[in-house]
Each structure stands twice: as C-alpha cells, then as structure tokens.
C-alpha cells in the first residue's frame, strides 16, 4: 500500500489534484447549495470502495492515516476543485469520538458502517432555546434501567432527512451545579420509535436542515459514549483542525471572482467608486488568505490551533459578506432576479446566491459574536 505520509508534499498534492481533476464530476463542482446524499452518493461510495472515506482516521480503524499536514493538502485540493460536501458527521465527529472515547464494541459496531456509508450521521447539538448558549440545552435523557429515555427537540440539524443515525448531547443530570456538567453523549438510531424529523425550508428556499423531535425515545445504555455527564468535555475536545476551515478564504475568493466577472462584463471597474470598494475587498481577501496560510502552517507543523483561530472565522465570513453585499449593490435593479444576472451569451452570475450564501456563515460554527466573546476572554484575557 502507498505510504502517503512518506510522499513529499508537492508530489502528494499533485497526485490528489490529478485524481480529482480526472475523476470528480464536473457537474458537482462548486455547487451553489448543500447537496443531498442521493446527489453525491455515487462519488462518495466510489471513494469508500477505494478506502478513502476517512483520510484522517488512523489506518488501524480503517482510515488512510494521513498526517495533519497531508490532510490539510487533501482538504485544500477538495476545496480548490469544489468537491460537494457529504453528510460527513460520521467521518468528522462520530468516528474520532469513538476512536478516542468509545468502547471496542462501539467501534466495531459503528466504524465500518461509517466508512461504507451504510450509516449516515447527523449532529444533534442545537435546540430551539440553545443556540449560541449550547450548554443550556434541555433535551433530557432519563435513566430507566438498561435504557435512557430521551425527550426533547433538536434543531438546525443539517441533512437529518438523509441520515440513519444521530449523535446527540442530552442532559443526564438536571441537578448539576454548572450547566456544562450533567450532559452526556448518546448515539441514536433514527429508526427508533418516537423520533420525528421535519425539514426546515431556509431563506434561499432549500431544505438543508431539520428539526428532530424525541418523544420517549428508548436508547440502549450501550449507546452512551464515554462517561456519563462528561459529554461537554468530549464535545470540546473534538474541535480539531476543522476549525481552520470555518475561516477558509475559498468562499470569499469564489465570491470575489464572481463579482469580478460581473464587474468586467458591465464595465464597473471603470467606475472609480466601485473600483475603490472592489480593490479594498480584494485586499481583504488577500490578507485573509495570508492569515489562513499562516494558521495552516501551524497545523502542518503539528501544533494545536489556539483560540486565536476565531479571528480568522470572523474575518473570513465578514469579508465574504461584504463581497456579497457589494455584489447586490452592483447588480442594482437586477439584484432580486432569481435567475441571476446575465454577463454574456450563456454566462451569468447570481448575486442572490452569494447573498444567501453568506448569511449563515456568520451564524454557524459559533456565531461571530460568540467568536468575539472567545477572543476577548481567551486571547485578550480581558477581565469580565
């Protein structure tokens, strides 16, 4: 078997790039919305057959065992070509969780089915009254001998309608002193009686996330991960280098490229006012990319990312937003047209797509206001 980690970075990048360029379907590149499982399953099942579902997992658990630096290259190359994301919570969250905290039986039961995509996982974190203040969650799991009985509601559950399983944070000790205590990690089969999934239509008209209701759902005790009441600690420990990609410059670069194409077609670069704003944004993106590379270099060097990574998420998503906002202004009266704006014979841009695309980015992954709280406390160490 190829020892990918022994390969030099440039050669590895070249290998991945060549493979993706040749094999990844053109129609699925840079999709304008989150694609559903049936739209991307051909690609991911093919990768599963080749053993490439989980590049970052250790080889002993069925992953490729790539080093952080090679994983980063792999992810960068996927972003570069615009590979559509799978419903990948099993790979990204459940696998690493079980590898670190699970029992041998849990690993044996779940890991192979994550790798084969027989099980598709979704994440049960947010609740209607617990968004940014996640630790206030109220979904409850009561001890009933050999089962937990779960009642409550999760929301913003991405692609729950395509999932077979959900991993959730539930309150197992309502009397705990601090709200972060008394939370546990449970693995739940979505076929269990008492679960209702209701898709939520988003502002752009797509159904990317759902509400999930739990009504006396009986979950076997074997499905508890790690120790009871330690779910919060585990959830935090799982925040890995994925945090880097919340601040990826790709969305901004892509949006700037679309705006540039529009401006070129409509002669806007000759307008000094537009040009000044556009250049400012171009430099915002350039400095974002420089910062991203600098954090990426930390990951490559095997360092753990510090809390300062939060500023990259703020700057990346707010830069993306400013570009989308300028695109809406630049499109002027045509901005609200749902079929986009023509920029030639058979080309168009879609400023609404940019605009609706930017809106969730400053909310998800910890809203930008929460990121500012984190920076103020953990980086600037400002007394409260």
């Amino acid at each position: 078997m190829t020892d990918w980690n022994a390969m030099d970075d440039a050669a590895f990048r070249c290998e991945i790039r060549t493979y993706l360029e040749a094999e990844y379907p053109k129609a699925l590149r840079h999709p304008s919305r989150r694609l559903r499982w049936h739209e991307v399953s051909d690609w991911y099942l093919k990768r599963a057959e080749a053993g490439w579902t989980a590049p970052g997992w250790p080889a002993e658990h069925g992953g490729v065992g790539l080093s952080p630096s090679k994983q980063l290259i792999f992810t960068e190359e996927q972003e570069r070509i615009g590979v559509a994301r799978a419903p990948d919570q099993g790979v990204v969250m459940v696998g690493p969780l079980l590898i670190r905290y699970g029992t041998p039986e849990q690993r044996e039961k779940y890991l192979p089915k994550i790798l084969s995509w027989d099980n598709i996982w979704c994440q049960g974190y947010s609740e209607p009254n617990s968004g940014s203040d996640l630790a206030s969650l109220r979904t409850q799991a009561d001890d009933d001998g050999d089962h937990w009985v779960v009642n409550g509601q999760k929301t913003w559950t991405t692609l729950a309608q395509d999932a077979t399983h959900i991993f959730l944070l539930a309150r197992t000790d309502p009397q705990a002193e601090r709200k972060q205590q008394g939370i546990s990690f449970l693995l739940v089969d979505l076929d269990t009686p008492g679960i209702t999934i209701r898709p939520i239509e988003n502002i752009a008209g797509h159904e990317e996330f759902c509400e999930v209701f739990f009504d006396n759902v009986r979950v076997p005790k074997d499905n508890l991960v790690g120790n009871v009441n330690e779910g919060w600690t585990m959830a935090k420990a799982l925040l890995g280098f994925e945090r880097l990609f919340l601040g990826s410059p790709k969305q901004s670069q892509n949006a700037l490229g679309r705006l540039d194409a529009f401006a070129e077609a409509r002669g806007l670069h000759d307008d000094p006012a537009f040009s000044a704003e556009f250049t400012k944004l171009a430099l915002d993106v350039a400095d974002l990319s420089e910062a991203f590379e600098s954090f990426a270099a930390q990951v490559r060097g095997g360092e753990t990312l510090g809390a300062d990574i939060s500023w990259l998420k703020i700057w990346g998503t707010e830069t993306y937003s400013r570009i989308a906002e300028l695109a809406v202004q630049a499109a002027d009266g045509e901005a609200p047209l749902v079929e986009g704006q023509a920029i030639g014979e058979d080309a168009s841009v879609d400023v609404l797509n940019l605009y609706f695309g930017c809106l969730p980015t400053t909310i998800y992954g910890g809203s930008n206001e929460i990121q500012r709280n984190i920076l103020a406390k953990q980086v600037l160490r400002l007394p409260e």
Partner: protein, 375 residues
C-alpha cells in the same frame, strides 16, 4: 512580538532585542513630546546613537559602512521604534538610501555612506504638489524641458533637516535623479509643520543647474531606483505603523482592564470587549500584510511584485493604524483626548506615516493599477 520573524531568524531576534533596549522605558515617546513641544527638530544625540547601533546603515552594503541587511531586518527595527513612538526619521532616510543604492553615479555611493554614518541627511524630492495630492506614480514628474535647468516645485519633502536632496526630474522617457545641495543657487526651501512635530519641506527650484556632476542616475536607472525606493520605504513605514498600532492596542487593552466605572472594569462591558476584538483583528491583518511584503523582499521578487506587495502592506497598515488610533482615543475616554495621555502622541505619528508616500486609498489605487496592468 514581531510579525516578521520565525525561530530560525536569529539576526532579526537580536535586532528586536537591541531596539527594545534602545527604546527603554518610554524614551521614544519622551523625544516625540519634546519634538512637538519645542519644535526642536531632529535629536542629534539620539540620531548618532542610532547610527552607532548600525540602524542607519541597515540596508547599506558593508562596503559602504552599513550592515548590508535586508528589508526584513529593517522592518524589525522600524516596528520596534514604532512601538516606542520614537520620532527619528529612519523611514525617510531609508527611502533616500534605497533610491541612492539604485543610482549608478560614483557620488551616489559616497552619499549613501555618509547617510549610514549619520554624517549627512538626505531627502528624496520626487513629487510636485499636484502629484502629492493625486499620488500619481513617479513616471509623470514634469519634464525640465531639456534646458539643463530645473524650474518647478517639489512637495512634502522629508526629513526637514536634509542637507542634500535627491531630486526626480521627469522627461518623456522617464525620470532622472540629481543630487542638489540645500544651499544650491536657485533653490529656496520653505518649511511646513507636521502634526507629529516634524516639518516637511516645499522646495522651489528656479533655474537650478542640472549639470553632470549632480546627476545620480539617468533615465532608466532613475526610474528603477525611485520605484524600488518607494517600495522599500512603504514597507518600512508599514512596519513602523505596525509597531505604533501594536503599542496603541496594548495600551488600550490595559486601560480597559484596569479602568473602573459603575463599579466594574470597562472590559466587563460586552460592547467594549467586542470593539477590542475588532481592533485586535485589525492588528492581525497588519501583521499578515506586512509578512507577505517582507517575504516578497526576502525572496527577491520582481519589481512589480514588490511594488504590489508594498502597496498592499501600506494600504492595510495605514488604514488599520488609523482605526486603532482613533478607537484608542475613544476607549480611553476624555483622558485620551489630552496631551497627558500617550495615545495622542502615538496617533499624531500614525497620522503622519499613514499619509506618507500614499495613504490607504492611494495605495489601493496603486495596487489596482498594477494588478490591472499585470492582467
């Protein structure tokens, strides 16, 4: 401390330590206050101390008595002086040196050596008033009409104590450079005070002879020298702005943590915590913009790439330093509006450097122009 070093760069780390030692406890800001209050001009003692430390020759080849180091090392020193609010015209001098280094005449080298030792001060007079207002590139400096004599004006010339001017004289094919002594017949010099306590000069040339003895570089070499000088100086100014803004930010951070109102630290108020984070982000952006510019020089990129990298750094650093300086005053409250508070002294220096050689808007126009031309 610095944006500009990794662990392998011992030279830069030693320089940073040396600047921190020179700065000591607020020596720079004390000189900045004295400069403003007494309009005393350049502090010659501090200047010769800087010469002894080698900083005035940081870019100057060892053969000419300098340290022969690069823009990365220069940026470390400029950042350190900025942190201390030191008012000495290092970046102005570096501008002249980087221009002189690209000149082919013998006396350019002699002049370069004299600036490195601190013996002479040289200023670049590269733009007339219209250009200073529009920040056009050097290529359109007006022609002398082929008369062999220069008539016209040059604006915003620094340092004000210069004994020699490197004057850009435009022609249809580009710019030539001449060294003209301050006391040259036909040259009159006016001074205009600048907000940081320095003065800038307006030069009026009335038929000043452009003879061969004065020529530093002909058309071609002159353009290259001036372009490179501007790029180097813009990065140096960016680094000083980074140091100024870093100190302003940290002073504000400390103030928010220690000042109490309503029985609690200012930093307990979320609106102020979030604003502090936004200023922190501005400073991190400066660090990144500066790093890419230093890297461009370290890797000896081609002149257009250096121009673009320098414009990008200067645009970011000018804008962010002004944002941080403005908010530093606001977050200090009324005391921030007084002469007693340090933030005002820093802000006056930021205002001066942000405008020098093209402010953020001008640098973005330059960046856009160079980017379009390259496409």
């Amino acid at each position: 401390m610095s944006a500009l070093m990794d662990d392998s760069q011992d030279e830069r780390r030693m320089l940073a330590d040396s600047v921190a030692g020179f700065a000591g406890e607020g020596r720079g800001i004390a000189r900045a206050r004295r400069l403003k209050a007494e309009a005393a001009g350049l502090d010659r003692a501090a200047w010769s101390e800087m010469a002894d430390l080698g900083w005035l020759g940081i870019l100057v080849p060892e053969a000419a008595g300098g340290l022969g180091l690069g823009v990365g090392e220069l940026a470390v020193v400029a950042e350190g002086l900025g942190r201390d609010c030191a008012p000495e015209p290092l970046v102005d001098t570096v501008f002249a040196q980087a221009v002189l280094a690209g000149c082919d005449a013998d006396h350019a080298g002699e002049l370069l050596a004299a600036t490195a030792s601190g013996e002479r001060l040289v200023a670049v007079a590269w733009q007339d008033e219209a250009q200073a207002r529009g920040q056009e590139g050097p290529a359109s400096v007006p022609a002398d009409g082929g008369s062999g004599r220069l008539t016209g004006r040059r604006a915003l010339v620094t340092p004000a104590e210069a004994d020699v001017f490197v004057v850009a004289v435009g022609g249809p094919d580009g710019v030539a450079l001449y060294a003209i002594e301050r006391d040259a017949p036909g040259l009159s010099v006016e001074t205009q005070p600048r907000v940081d306590g320095h003065a800038v000069l307006a030069l009026t040339f009335d038929g000043v002879s452009l003879d061969d003895a004065r020529r530093l570089a002909g058309v071609g070499a002159g353009d290259g020298a001036l372009t490179r000088g501007l790029s180097v100086a813009r990065v140096a100014a960016s680094a000083e702005l980074f140091g100024l803004a870093g100190a302003l930010f940290e002073q504000t951070q400390d103030y928010l943590a220690s000042r109490k109102q309503f029985g609690q630290a200012l930093s307990s108020f979320q609106a102020l915590r979030h604003r502090a984070v936004d200023l922190y982000i501005q400073r991190e952006l400066m660090r990144n913009a500066l790093r890419q510019a230093v890297r461009a020089f370290d890797s000896d990129a081609d002149p257009v790439d250096l121009q673009r990298a320098a414009a990008r750094a200067k645009a970011r650093c000018s804008e962010a330093a002004l944002i941080i300086g403005r908010q530093a005053v606001q977050l200090h409250g009324a005391i921030g509006y007084t002469e007693e508070a340090n933030v005002g002294v820093y802000l006056r220096r930021v205002l001066s450097l942000a405008a020098w050689l093209g402010n953020a808007d001008a640098q973005r126009r330059e960046y856009a122009r160079l980017t379009r031309a390259a496409a």
